[in-house]
């Protein structure tokens, strides 16, 4: 397998580019949270700073509650590997408005860059496909990015897209971390009340 060439921050910026009030975003803890913050703070982004393994299921609950909105979960490979059971859970409900993008650098980036199972070849998109997600894909080179962004933003879901990204250690860009504040501003923006 060739070494990845995709940079994570421009990819996440592309995923969120031109977002409107139909797009609701949940970021898994660690670097995906910082990537989304680097792309620009937004009340319709719920940044997780903990609750590892919960991002995809938060996305499911939100997608079921807001069927007319698009729900995009940005997760690291460590986050997703902790939640492989949710691949089955989501597949049973088949929410058409949910997309999960895994930013897969094949390492636990927050804790010293230890390799994850995807480094040894575990195929998360293959697992999602086997579970029955409507659309699955793996982007490996920059030329795969437009199709990944289009699938994440527009394709009938549930969409599961893995982006094989470089294992870069990037500067922290830290969004607000008060969970009650993040929740209140999200609900205010989406529901019109806290």
């Amino acid at each position: 397998m060739t070494a990845p060439t995709i940079h994570r921050r421009p990819l996440v910026a592309k995923l969120l580019e031109g977002r409107d009030d139909r797009l609701l975003v949940i970021t898994g803890l660690g670097t995906p949270t910082y990537d989304a913050a680097a792309a620009g703070d937004d009340p319709r982004t719920f940044f997780l700073w903990g609750a590892m393994g919960g991002a995809t299921m938060m996305g499911l609950g939100l997608a079921l509650a807001q069927p007319d909105k698009r729900v995009l979960v940005l997760a690291g490979d460590g986050e997703m590997l902790m939640a492989v059971g949710s691949l089955a859970t989501v597949a049973m409900k088949r929410p058409a408005n949910l997309a999960v993008v895994v930013l897969d650098n094949e390492h636990f980036g927050e804790t010293g860059m230890q390799p994850t199972p995807t480094h040894a070849g575990v195929d998360l998109a293959g697992m999602a496909a086997a579970a029955g997600w409507a659309r699955t894909m793996t982007a490996r080179v920059d030329s795969d990015i437009p199709a990944l962004v289009d699938a994440a933003r527009n394709a009938p879901g549930p969409v599961f897209a893995v982006a094989k990204i470089m294992a870069e250690k990037l500067p922290f860009v830290l969004p607000p971390k008060d969970g009650a504040y993040l929740k209140d501003r999200f609900r205010q923006a989406v529901l019109g009340h806290v």
Partner: protein
Amino acid sequence: MTEAAAPNWPDDIYRALKGAGVRQVAHVPDAGHARLIKSCDADNDMQVVTLTTEEEGVAMLCGAHLGGERGVLLVQSSGVGNCINMLSLPQTCRMPFLMVVTMRGEYGEFNPWQNAMGLATEAVLEAMHVTCYRCDRPEDVGPTVANAARYTFEGGRPVAVLLSQRLIGAKAFVNE
């Protein structure tokens, strides 16, 4: 439990959940919840989600709250242990969170493997700032669930209703 006392408390829970506006029902099945799950499955206004592990339901219902819907997590006491770290989510974010727990490992338990988590369930929940309401009598179940729902959806603090094994009846382990 005597036949005469065989109650309709699962239906009382269903009515309490309907009255509270619950629309998402996440569960890892337990025999004690079987009748309630059936009622929820038959309700077109409820989304029933079968989980692979209980903590998925904690995260799911927090997502539901972000989207303006109310939900409930139905689990057995053994599953409470699986939820521990994920309970940081409703606590940290001051989100409502309602769970109904069928207890094992207490009154009349046959299977010693249920005892460890069953006996630790209430302590674990309280350590994670989940208020516990315990039910031993069938007539208390409906009002307890209704008030737990009110407590969490209006008051914003996570709550668990513990349905005791004395209420449910111990699993028999006999071939029919």
